[in-house]
């Protein structure tokens, strides 16, 4: 798949655009870089590898045999965003996140947006991510999606687009934190010369944010826990890391049960009530009495406790309806409907293959487009037209024609690039950005996020499962 994503496109480089030369946010870094001995940098790159492998031992202990293979590669050149750019971005993100929560509240209550005909009814009713069990349920503090990752791509100096919203259980925040930690270990002097806004208080912010949305009935400080599917889950490290950093318990379904109308965890001294549950378990596994009866990962009866308002579940069940790829194409309408203003952050133009005209266009231009499964993720099941062979396009066309509503199509965008350090010096590679947003009684966005980078020359696929790496992301304090 990664090789299919390879192609040459004239892309905007965030450090050294061909037309205008070095961009300002990178000037201090560039000055520092020019003073460095290339041999020392190569050495640092190996140090980074070592630092990472060491933490990486704890990082990549996923189920598989030899852990080290699952290390996500790290590049030592930071991706730098100016204070101004960041302010503009965050305004757009805030607006979008407000709209997402308002949309969820509406969809599970009056459904005004459907009555107004702005989003088609059948898109909701037939959607697996829509949970009828949530109809009429208002979560504590009225927040549905508490932790959101908004994937953003850039194509020029002033053009940012949202690639997708992650409103269920966005992952990767532990990489953001570890990347910064590693950079500060490797280049302490850089952080003295350049004022970079901190990200390391994220766990603290997360804890405060979760505490702020506790159920009304909670007396005193709320008890918070992270619910993990268990140590064989591929993101287990992140679950353990966050619980550890927040100083809260890491629980599994087998630790929990409903006691006297509350969810409680089994401790060595008996059952203790939990008020806020940051769950990293999918909706369908959450409550075997309500959803999948064979689930051993959830808590029987938790939905009753939830409906009674006695526990906060973050993110709320049913938030998936807001980040579904079929809904995505309606996001500009959704943002405008709930905020009364045009969306500050644009969507990538999207053809809904369920619409006959669009399908016709997509089939005729398949070799120019990126085609995605509506419910897919992780870069699987997609076609990058310009990089695919004629045969691959033909085969995909058949799949598409057979089940059009399963697909959306987008133009192939020249994602911006950012230099990485290679054996032959700096070289540009395509990147995207996932900032992390926390919603409680306010909206907080940690300055930075996770920059994913396609390490292969020309590749547009940044997913770690397909040869992508990560970079530290700096937001300048200017």
């Amino acid at each position: 798949m990664a090789s299919q994503g390879s192609m040459r496109l004239a892309a905007f480089d965030e450090m050294l655009p061909e037309v205008s030369g070095l961009r300002k946010p990178y000037s201090a870094y560039d000055r520092w870089l020019k003073e460095q001995d290339p041999a020392r940098l190569t050495e640092k790159m190996q140090d980074a590898e070592r630092v990472f492998r060491k933490t990486g031992i704890t990082f990549a202990v996923y189920g598989e045999q030899e852990a080290s293979e699952r290390l996500i590669p790290f590049d030592i050149v930071p991706r730098i965003i100016s204070g101004n750019e960041w302010r503009r971005l965050t305004q757009g993100i805030e607006q979008r996140v407000q709209a997402l929560n308002a949309f969820l509240d509406d969809i599970y209550h009056r459904q005004e947006i459907l009555r107004a005909g702005r989003v088609p009814k059948e898109l909701i009713a037939k959607n697996e991510a829509f949970l009828p069990e949530m109809i009429g349920v208002r979560p504590p503090a009225g927040v549905y999606t508490h932790i959101i990752g908004v994937d953003i791509v850039r194509i020029s100096e002033n053009e940012f687009y949202v690639l997708e919203d992650n409103a269920r259980t966005p992952s990767g925040v532990s990489y953001m934190l570890e990347n910064r930690e590693t950079m500060m270990q490797l280049f302490p002097e850089l952080f003295q010369q350049i004022k970079v806004r901190p990200v390391e208080n994220y766990p603290q912010l997360l804890r405060q944010s979760l505490a702020a949305v506790r159920p009304q009935s909670t007396k005193g400080a709320p008890t918070i826990a992270v619910l993990t599917p268990g140590s064989f889950n591929s993101a287990y490290f992140e679950h353990a890391f966050l619980a550890d950093q927040m100083g809260v318990q890491l629980v599994e379904g087998q630790d929990l049960r409903v006691v006297d109308g509350h969810v409680a965890m089994r401790t060595t001294e008996g059952y203790k009530q939990i008020d806020v549950l940051y769950r990293r378990v999918d909706d369908s596994f959450l409550d075997p009495l309500t959803f999948r009866p064979d689930s051993a990962l959830g808590v029987p009866g938790i939905m009753d406790v939830y409906r009674a308002g006695n526990i906060t579940i973050a993110n709320a069940p049913g938030t998936g309806i807001a980040d579904d790829k079929a809904i995505y194409s309606y996001m500009p309408e959704i943002v405008e409907f709930y905020t009364g203003r045009k969306a500050m952050l644009g969507n990538i133009p999207t053809w809904r293959c369920s619409e006959p005209d669009s399908l016709k266009y997509v089939l005729e231009h398949i070799d120019e487009l990126v085609i995605k499964e509506v419910h897919g993720s992780g870069g699987y099941g997609m076609l990058v037209g310009p990089a695919a062979t004629k045969k691959e396009c033909e085969e995909f066309s058949k799949k598409l024609a057979a089940k059009p509503s399963n697909y959306i199509a987008q133009p192939t965008l020249a994602l911006s690039t950012c230099p990485i350090l290679t054996d032959k010096g700096l070289a540009p590679r395509h990147v995207d950005l996932r900032p992390y947003v926390l919603v409680s009684d306010r909206i907080q966005i940690v300055p930075g996020g996770l920059t994913r980078v396609a390490l292969k020359e020309g590749s547009l696929v940044v997913n770690s499962s397909q040869g992508g790496g990560t970079k530290d992301t700096w937001v300048l304090d200017d």
Binding site: Q254, E269, G270
Partner: protein
């Protein structure tokens, strides 16, 4: 506050680290006997397997008691749930589960032990390499113990870990004695023969006490002294009394912390009282085998009660 499941994970993580090491110790003692007493080698290996509690399963797989077969079965066979490799794997899985309760040093030492033993035990062990493999196993577990003692906070997490270590160790020492109890009985006619000397040394060696014995007692091996050393000596780190001193101590910490005493407190106190009140003569008079059988039974019960009283499941 500690989850019951986490307490359970800590308890079994430490039982299995202890077991991984004990297997190496048993093979070490067996190897020594086999080298010095070629005639009865297979009988020796048989008692090693009995001490390990693995004889029945071994004989289903092998017909000969040879060094290669026994070492393979006890050290690297993953179909044997108590082999060193299986034990270190189980210990690591438990450590992953209780990751947030461990210091980074402790977790990394367990993870590194697992990686290095996995490499070392990937292929059958060449007999010439056996001594160095046994050393390496003991070194890895010593590193885990060192990081654990050096970095862990002395709280309930530490207590549940120590309970696992000492329940396993007491069980191990008692089983070694019970398999060989007859060579310690004073009534046997060939007392003092060379054979006995080897047998006695083998017992001491399997708990790594053949040198320290001589610092504490006479240079000569006397069955009553050996039994005294392994059962009643309060300073010998693998004796039953030593194990129970720490078991009662850590249970007391937990009881004080939580302000609650359970059935396990009574069981541990009873065994502890029996060990401190008794003399080795009393134990021999009442029957060494009966004593050990009762001890093993009570020790197992203690483990079950700890699991129940502290809501492991």
């Amino acid at each position: 506050m500690l989850l019951g499941r986490t307490a359970n994970g800590l308890y079994w993580m430490n039982r299995y680290i202890e077991r991984a090491e004990n297997m190496a110790r048993l093979v070490d003692a067996g190897l020594r006997m086999a080298l010095t007493r070629t005639q009865n080698a297979s009988e020796e290996w048989n008692s090693v397997l009995l001490s390990a509690g693995s004889d029945a399963a071994f004989t289903q797989k092998y017909s000969d008691y040879t060094a290669a077969n026994v070492a393979d079965y006890l050290l690297r066979d993953t179909s044997n749930p108590s082999s060193t490799m299986s034990s270190i794997e189980t210990a690591r899985n438990n450590a992953r589960m209780v990751r947030t309760a461990l210091t980074r040093e402790t977790w990394e030492s367990i993870n590194e032990a697992w990686m290095s033993l996995k490499r070392m035990l990937a292929k059958p062990i060449d007999e010439r390499d056996l001594p160095s493999v046994l050393d390496a196993i003991k070194r890895e577990t010593a590193l885990i113990r060192g990081s654990f003692y050096g970095t862990m906070l002395r709280n309930e997490i530490f207590d549940f870990s120590q309970l696992g270590t000492y329940v396993e160790r007491a069980d191990n020492t008692a089983r070694i004695l019970d398999v060989k109890y007859y060579v310690l009985l004073p009534s046997i006619s060939w007392v003092g023969s060379t054979l006995d000397n080897y047998q006695w040394e083998s017992i001491l060696r399997s708990v790594s006490a053949h040198r320290s014995y001589r610092w504490v007692y006479d240079a000569d091996y006397k069955p009553s002294n050996i039994a005294d050393y392994l059962i009643l000596n309060v300073r010998m780190p693998r004796s039953l009394t030593f194990c129970y001193r720490f078991l009662t101590e850590h249970l007391k910490f937990l009881g004080d912390d939580y302000g609650e005493r359970h059935a396990c407190h009574a069981t541990a106190a009873k065994t502890q009282a029996m060990l401190t009140a008794g003399s080795i003569k009393d134990i021999f008079d009442a029957g060494l085998h009966e004593f050990l059988a009762n001890f093993i039974r009570d020790n197992t019960r203690l483990g079950d009660e700890i699991a129940q009283d502290y809501r492991f499941y």
